[in-house]
Symmetry: C2
């Protein structure tokens, strides 16, 4: 059975997300997989290649969402579609997103992280142009960073894991509330 490569990818992703890319040694990944460090380097030519295999698909998925978002004007319907797409993306790739958010700025010289950072920056700029006020711009950041943080932190802090569909519905509500501008808001 040659599931070793896929096993290594999953193990590496989990360790990279929790202990950090720099903080995770190939030796530890090998131990968790029940292999030797040399075997890990047999399946993946280098630590960086392993990182690319671990988070590359998530970067691609995020790029696809961004392309779909940028093709037309941002109508209310499209905004709703984007939010659902984005929350589902967060749920499916929560570990990878956690890595983009936390370790992106510190790993600027790793190619796959450069791609991820460029995508996050593009997303931020897109919403910065559509947002009118400083507060609206910050709402986007809080929604993105907060949702990503919550998905990983809940696993660390919550005793019993929350059901996925309940989490999904709650996240869609919260992000919608944060991104949808409150029309009648004359207090500011």
């Amino acid at each position: 059975m040659s599931t070793s490569a896929e096993d290594l990818r999953a193990i590496a992703l989990g360790e990279f997300a929790t202990a950090g890319y720099i903080g995770t040694s190939l030796h530890r990944i090998a131990d968790l997989a029940g292999l030797s460090k040399s075997s890990v380097l047999y399946h993946y030519a280098s630590k960086e290649v392993l990182l690319g295999a671990a988070i590359g698909p998530a970067v691609d998925a995020m790029g696809a969402i961004l392309e779909r978002l940028a093709v037309g004007p941002l109508t209310a319907v499209r905004r709703r579609e984007f939010i659902v797409e984005f929350v589902d993306f967060l749920l499916e790739h929560r570990l990878e997103v956690h890595m983009f958010i936390n370790q992106g700025p510190s790993l600027v010289d790793v190619p796959v992280f450069d791609r991820a950072n460029a995508l996050v920056r593009r997303l931020a700029e897109y919403f910065a142009t559509t947002a009118t006020s400083t507060e609206d711009r910050m709402r986007f950041g809080v929604a993105l960073g907060g949702a990503a943080y919550m998905l990983v932190a809940s696993q660390s802090f919550e005793l019993e894991p929350l059901p996925v569909d309940e989490t999904r519905a709650a996240l869609i509500n919260i992000v919608t509330e944060l991104l949808a501008p409150v029309d009648a808001n004359p207090t500011r």
Copy 2:
């Protein structure tokens, strides 16, 4: 002039927050300070001691906020006070909070991080008991993680830094909106 110790503290905090505690070498801190690695270890007996000096005050401040929060029932007034206190805490210690959020789970064996993690967990449990629904619990996490992320990410992504008081007002608005339960919400 003996400002070296304080200079080192500030430099270390910045590097620890951006490149990570593990990802920051004493050699780099020494270079940024214009000193040798040995001189850094003269002022701070070890890398861990330096970390304690860098983030200890923020941990203390957060502990104080928590103690002030836990003395009585959570009235609407007290909730408002807490939000303002908390946002000001985030603004003053944004780098340290960023470290708690991002690197807390991966540095469980470092004493000062254990203290910080315990405080974050206490805060989460406090709001978990007061929150009635899963969504309310997630609102707290999104607010905390999102605000902390936004304060550091804005410095990385935004070209011109936002004015402090504007950021403060916006954050108070957003966190208030996230934490204050919407009373008339029969849709859920």
